[in-house]
Structures are given as structure tokens and as C-alpha cells.
Subunit: 225 residues, 2 copies
């Protein structure tokens, strides 16, 4: 049965953040992949400060900038204030995986498609315009003022579409994201992104636990939903 | 100077609600135009109950259904429960004016485009899919849990895009909407929709007060912004 809506994780699932961030960092004179990996490594611990209630929800630009300052410090790198601000916005300009745009175009013909991302609305809009992601709406963290896997992010995204959780399917390359969505009653699709973290990736290579669908990419998803 | 974002009123400005609702009502065996006009006449008084603080914000489906019950009562018309629910959702399937889709397509090439409507997210998504409105995001009343012309609707829509009010332009066929947007610091574009209320329309035929742009339709807007 085709879901009424497909909700997508974005970083890693729809776009290749590592290659894009490494390129932007290199263009700023920094060691690209080292900066990309160190930057992303601070992401979940940062989100956890919000999820745990230790900090008010803030947009991802704020967290990305704080993390960049930490990364530059950690790696002993120099970068001026204006360049730090500009590089932070590289998270608004990430390139899609090759299957993302054709897959989304086909899926949009029969389902509502929307991001359910930890990115805020401005970041999601700018990213969609850069990458050509044809979303029907921007849902996710900013609606709930919470960060996935907080259940409010999934439930408020589904509710905003006027749907029941079982009428929506969460699409992600990350098992933890799908597990949380399933606990909220959403259906789940695992999309393999085995190079998201580069050639040495060891996690999220396959679906773990029960998912409704496991596919190689978003074009393959359009063949089955 | 081209605005970074264009925010659109939807009912009347982008879609011809009167013709579409009259057709749906007629298909349900009712006097189409009489129902459409009586239904819409209850709209602003309903919103005012929310704006005045007399009632919590609810999605437009709830208000539209209550108003339909009132209209059928007022006009002495019979309609079963299931047909009332179905007809209420006609507000999710309104046809665009002929210039709307080509105008938005051109405007989207250089500006973020989003509704800043009193419609809720589910209604706005369904309407966009029906009418082919290529929004970058769905903004408006549901973000703020308020109804235009409450300033929070404009200001929160602009803030969600990470912009200052002066970087955005409100596009509407209604002077009151533009006046409220201008008071929030947005730029304004008046689009003439002289048949929104049918052949006898007497209000909102021209811009009143200062607007930045006054155009005949959305294709003309694309020529000037």
C-alpha cells in the first residue's frame, strides 16, 4: 500500500554532506575531509544537549558555527570571522546523491514528499533550491522545536499533513532514525548510503531490526512504494 | 532590487476559490454560487474570533466545516454528514488563476516563493499539489498559530526563512493584507483579482495606500521584480 506521505531524513540520506563540506572547507584553505569528519562528529553530542533539556532549541546554523569553532581549535587551524560565517552556510549548499532528484521526482507523483530533518526551515529551503529537491513542504525539527530522534519531530510532522502516523513512511539511511520513527507508528524505508562517511564506513551499512522496505537508493524506492 | 523571498496570499490571489467552491457545491446538489459566497462571508468573522483571543487557533478545516453547517442552515439546504465533510475539503482543491502557475515558475527562478496564507499546512500542501503551485516551503498561519492580519503570521514566516522583513515581499490581492504586511516591514505587491468575488466585485479593485508594486497578474509581477 502506497503511503500518503514520505518523510525524508536529509543529511546523508538525500545529500552527500561529507563530499560537499570537504570541498567547501578545502576552498577555504582547510584540510577538507578532516574538517568535514571532525565537524560532523560534534553533531550528535550537540543535539543531545538540546534533547536532554540542557539547552533551548536553536537552529542548526548556531550549532554548526559553535562546532566549527571547536573543530578549528581542535585541529589547530586558523580562519577569520567572516570566513567562519561563510563556511557555516556550506550546510545550506550540499549536493544530492545521483539518484536523489530523479527518485524524488517519481515519488512525488504519488506521495506527498517532505523532509523530516534536523535542519531548520531556512537551511532546508536553501538546500532544496541548491540541490533541486522538489519538496511539497518543509517539515521536521523547527516545527517541533526539538531534534530527532525526539518523537515530537516525527509526530508533529505527520500531524501537520493531517495524517495518522501509519499513513506516513520515514525514509532514512540511519537505523536510529528509523527505529524512533517506527516507535511513533510510522512505516520505515532504509536507504543504503554506504559511503556517507567515506570509504571506511562501518555503521548503517544495512537495515538493523525491522523495516518495511530496504532499498539501494531513492530510484529503487520509487519502484516499490 | 529583487526580494529574497516572495510570500503569497493564496485564497483569491493565487487560486479562484469562488468558481472552484461553486462547482463543488453544485456537484453536491447545492446552489453553487450562493453557497460559495455565503460560505466565504463567514470567513473573516470566524477568523476574528481567533484574532480577538476569544478562541484558540484551530486549523481552517474546522472553521470551514462550522461555517458550512451555518450556511446550509441559513439557506435552508439539506446535506448529509459525509457529504458535508467531503465538501469541506473542496477548499483543498481550488483551481489556480491562468497566470498563477507560469508566473510562480518564473518568480521561483530568482526568489524563494512560499504561501503566507491563513490555510494550514495540510490544506496548503494538498492545494499546491492540486493546483501545481511550486512552493519552496509552506509558511503562514500554522507556523504562528495565528491568523492574518495578525503581525505574527508575517514576522514568523519571514523569520523562518532567516530573513529580515525588508528582504521579503508580500503578494496579495487584498489591501488589508498588504497594509498589515507593510506595517511589519515587508515590501508589498498588489495583484489585481477583480473577479475574485464574481462580476459584481466592488472592493480591492486597485491598490489603496502605498504599495511597492501594482500588477495585473503574477506573470506581470515576474516582469518587474
Amino acid at each position: 500500500l502506497t503511503p500518503k506521505a514520505l518523510l525524508f531524513d536529509v543529511f546523508g540520506t538525500c545529500v552527500d554532506w561529507r563530499t560537499s563540506i570537504a570541498r567547501a572547507a578545502a576552498a577555504a584553505g582547510l584540510p577538507g575531509e578532516a574538517v568535514a569528519d571532525a565537524w560532523r562528529a560534534r553533531y550528535q553530542p550537540q543535539l543531545e544537549t538540546v534533547r536532554s533539556g540542557g539547552r533551548e532549541w536553536v537552529v542548526l546554523d548556531v550549532l554548526h558555527r559553535e562546532a566549527l569553532d571547536g573543530v578549528l581549535d581542535e585541529l589547530g587551524l586558523e580562519l577569520g570571522e567572516a570566513d567562519r560565517s561563510a563556511l557555516t552556510l556550506a550546510w545550506h549548499r550540499l549536493d544530492p546523491w545521483p539518484d536523489t532528484v530523479p527518485g524524488l521526482a517519481r515519488l512525488k507523483e504519488r506521495c506527498i514528499i517532505a523532509p523530516c530533518s534536523n535542519g531548520h526551515i531556512a537551511q532546508s529551503v536553501n538546500l532544496a533550491r541548491h540541490a533541486g529537491l522538489p519538496w511539497d513542504a518543509i517539515l521536521g525539527a523547527e516545527l517541533a522545536h526539538a531534534y530527532k530522534p525526539d518523537p515530537r519531530v516525527y509526530l508533529q510532522s505527520v500531524a501537520a499533513l493531517g495524517l495518522e502516523p501509519g499513513e506516513a513512511m520515514m525514509v532514512a539511511a540511519h537505523n536510529a532514525d528509523l527505529r524512533a520513527a517506527a516507535e511513533c507508528g510510522l512505516r520505515t524505508a532504509f536507504v543504503a548510503r554506504p559511503r556517507e562517511h567515506g570509504p571506511g564506513q562501518r555503521s548503517d551499512l544495512r537495515a538493523e531490526g525491522e523495516v518495511d522496505v530496504e532499498v539501494a537508493d531513492l530510484v529503487a524506492l520509487a519502484d516499490v512504494v
